[in-house]
């Protein structure tokens, strides 16, 4: 007992002061892209060719990056000889609509809060049932991290629950393998209405590294109505937390 108390004092208080203070992420972290179209040379297309997942499109106003397809590998930024496209350390990425994930010169549109009755119901207390449908366990691991004392998810009134019957929303990871499709839809059906769906990670949004696999569905878009998209491969815990708090109108 004394040993436990001594160790407890030694380990100290470790819960981050987020959201009061912005998190400091590693120097090499790749977050929200910064696109400067003025530097872009017509007919270059190096960034488009460098992307393994076709996430970049050329527009009249420079490249446009689909944060849903992007796995933040940084190949595009490395390929661009003019410095048009680079990744900042900004962890804020989540969006409410699929088209809001298209990042151009003006960045992309961050998630807004739930409206009306949904916000009244879930704004202060949100219970989530997580389903991994082909996830590689990185998304799952970094969602679990939200339960550690660093993030302490429960202090925001958000909790992962065991039963879909106790849940207000479904948080899906993975590209949805054919072998998990049925279980995913059954779990969704078991949630009482009204309910939310969150696509967490590149796989759940658009298939991630497994986009195009005959055994996968390129994400949940065609299977479930999505209320929040959290980009990343996997999303940084702060990216996920930021998305959840935005959805609840808490940021």
């Amino acid at each position: 007992m004394l040993k436990i108390i001594r160790e407890r004092i030694r380990q100290g208080h470790r819960t981050a002061s987020y959201p009061k203070e912005a998190p400091v992420l590693p120097e090499r972290f790749r977050g929200a892209p910064r696109i400067v179209p003025e530097l872009c040379r017509e007919g270059c297309g190096d960034c488009i060719k460098a992307c393994p997942f076709g996430a970049i499109e050329g527009t009249a106003n420079g490249p446009r990056l689909d944060l849903g397809r992007c796995i933040f590998c940084g190949a595009c930024a490395a390929a661009c000889p003019h410095g048009v496209l680079e990744f900042s350390r900004d962890h804020r990425l989540a969006a409410r609509r699929r088209e809001d994930l298209l990042a151009g010169a003006d960045g992309h549109r961050l998630a807004g809060a739930l409206e009306g009755e949904m916000r009244r119901l879930f704004g202060r207390s949100l219970k989530l049932r997580q389903v991994s449908a082909g996830g590689c366990n990185a998304c799952e691991a970094d969602l679990n991290v939200l339960n550690t004392l660093v993030f302490d998810l429960a202090r925001f009134g958000i909790q992962f629950v065991a039963s879909p019957r106790h849940a207000d929303g479904l948080m899906v990871t993975g590209p949805v393998t054919e072998n998990m499709r049925f279980a995913l839809l059954e779990t969704y059906a078991a949630l009482p209405a009204p309910k939310l769906v969150i696509a967490s990670g590149a796989c759940a949004i658009a298939g991630g590294p497994f986009r195009g696999s005959p055994e996968c569905h390129d994400g949940i878009g065609d299977l479930l109505p999505v209320d929040l998209y959290i980009p990343g491969c996997p999303p940084h815990p702060y990216t996920a937390l930021d998305g959840l708090l935005r959805l609840l109108g808490r940021l």
Binding site: K3, I4, E7, R8, R10, Q11, R14, L25, P26, E27, R28, F29, R30, P52, I71, F72, G74, Q130, V131, S132, A133, G134, G135, C136, N137, A138, E140, A141, D142, L143, N144, V145, T148, L149, V150, F160, A162, S163, P164, G174, P175, T177, E178, N179, M180, F182, A183, T187, G208, P209, F210, R211, S213, P214, E215, C216, C233, P234, H236, P237
Partner: protein
């Protein structure tokens, strides 16, 4: 050539022209394989390769005592006699081959699908129609009796974890048998890699099992280096070792925390949950991603570390190590903790050897198995790894192996960062060798990862075989649960902490 010496030796991380691998007769192959196994070799991988309308079978044997591998090659048709009863390590490989190519191992004692997908060539080994097989739709082993009951769990579990199905045959609280049906995470990785490497290949490799991104990327890189004949620069090799050991630390520390959580010992659970994140953040210092994505690439690593960054990382790890020691000491010093771990989830050393367990699970049963010692590559050649072997075979032993490895990895990272060799971190390779087989074994945090690639005339992958340690070790979990209380399933499960997607591919 003597039938017993038919295997072609190959060093780990080496490549051999396919023309140098004799196509043995079936009896010759069987004799040689069983002789090698009798002399202590393990089956590191066994896979089929379609060649025209025929099917060739490759066995990669790991001869730990000699520090090398041995390759055997034969041809199988629509049916061949199973070796699973004589060499139980092969049982899952034979089922996998049957599921992929419809080739039936006759006399197999446990002939069931592995991942529940359609075969790759329209031939179904179980005579199922054209309809897609549904996961876990199979005959489960059943115990009959008035007081016997069956418990079915999954695919969707209670926590934030991957899906799988567990079927328990119980008498009261006691488990008589556990059968595990997986395949829910099957993304078809091996076929996506065909004719590669493609632009998406490194990213798919890193997400075979996302918690082992460094491990799988290292195995793939070593296969690629073997095919391209490139030399790994010393600095690149050292940084790879640092990344591998950080991955081991993050997961081992997380696992100890999870074990503590499962038995309700909250101090260590809380500290380790946080500390695991600190090791992931250290990995992100190297490459920006907590799971090491984009770091390990053929020829070395994609990002260098400046002297200041290396010094800062060392300093940061000193503080994290101090807290880690404190959290572990508390855990292993508390009698009520030990009482829950000792004797729980026991696997006998004979069983562990027979089914071919690897990694932490094998070492906890007293088996000397660590690719970093027996088949070292890169910076491990001079690292002087001594496998952390414990004898109990129970949850305690699996925790104790992790404890030792946490301590060893911390020392290893510190000494490597303190003396980083100078020079480049990555070397360019030549064109990949055509018509060759390359094999790489890597000791990931769970255990031995095996990648084997066959190339076509243009040097592209005509077959890419991945064996995640979880492929071997799920059987170990099923064995560990025999005779246990069903309420101890979570604890035993955490003590293995296996990958679903690594198994399902």
């Amino acid at each position: 050539m003597s039938p017993l010496r038919a295997a072609v030796p190959l060093a780990n991380g080496g490549a051999v022209p396919l023309a140098n691998l004799p196509l043995l007769g079936r009896g010759h192959f069987t004799g040689a394989l069983l002789a090698e196994v009798a002399e202590g070799a393990r089956v590191a991988a066994c896979f089929a390769v379609p060649v025209g309308s025929a099917l060739e079978l490759y066995a990669v044997l790991a001869r730990d005592a000699h520090g090398d591998l041995a390759i055997l090659r034969t041809e199988i048709g629509g049916e061949y006699p199973s070796l699973a009863l004589r060499c139980p390590e092969l049982q899952l490989f034979e089922r996998e081959i049957a599921e992929q190519f419809g080739s039936i191992p006759t006399g197999h004692p446990w002939f069931k699908p592995v991942r529940f997908h359609r075969s790759w060539n329209e031939r179904d080994a179980w005579g199922r129609g054209l309809e897609r097989p549904q996961p876990a739709v199979q005959e489960f082993y059943r115990v009959e009796g008035e007081e016997v009951h069956e418990v079915a769990v999954g695919p969707v579990h209670a926590g934030v974890i991957e899906p799988g199905h567990f079927r328990f045959q119980c008498h009261g609280e006691q488990i008589m048998h556990l059968e595990i049906a997986l395949g829910y995470q099957h993304r078809d990785v091996e076929r996506l890699l065909l004719n590669g490497p493609h632009p998406a290949t490194p990213h798919q490799i890193e997400t075979v099992a996302g918690d082992t991104s460094i491990g799988h990327a290292s195995a793939w890189s070593q296969v690629s280096e073997a095919l391209a004949g490139s030399d790994l620069p010393a600095r690149g090799a050292a940084l790879r070792l640092v990344a591998m050991e950080l991955e081991r630390l993050a997961n081992h520390v997380g696992d100890i925390g999870a074990l503590a959580g499962d038995i309700g010992f909250l101090p260590t659970a809380a500290y380790c949950g946080r500390l695991r994140g600190d090791y992931l953040n250290a990995t992100a210092v190297l490459c920006g991603n907590r799971f090491g994505r984009g770091l390990v690439r053929p020829g070395g690593v994609a990002a260098d570390l400046s002297d200041e960054q290396a010094a800062a990382l060392r300093e940061c790890l000193v503080a994290v190590a101090r807290d880690t020691h404190g959290a572990l000491e508390l855990f292993f010093d508390t009698p009520s903790v030990l009482a829950r771990l000792e004797g729980t989830g026991h696997v006998a050393v004979e069983d562990a050897a027979a089914v071919g367990l690897v990694g932490v699970a094998a070492r906890a049963c007293g088996l000397q198995r660590d690719a970093r010692k027996h088949h070292p590559l890169g910076a491990y050649r001079t690292a002087g790894i001594e496998p952390a072997v414990k004898w109990g075979g129970d949850v305690f032993a699996r925790a104790a192996v992790r404890q030792r490895e946490i301590e060893d990895s911390l020392v290893l990272i510190d000494s490597t960062l303190a003396a980083l060799p100078s020079g480049p971190v990555r070397a360019e390779g030549g064109a990949p060798r055509p018509k060759a087989l390359a094999v790489a074994l890597v000791e990931g945090w769970r255990g031995e990862i095996v990648h084997a690639a066959l190339t076509d005339a243009a040097g592209r992958f005509s077959r890419y075989k991945i064996v995640d340690p979880s492929f071997r070790n799920w059987t170990g979990l099923a064995l560990a649960l025999r005779g246990e209380q069903i309420s101890d399933f979570p604890l035993c499960n955490k003590s293995f902490n296996l990958s679903y997607c690594g198994f399902d591919l």
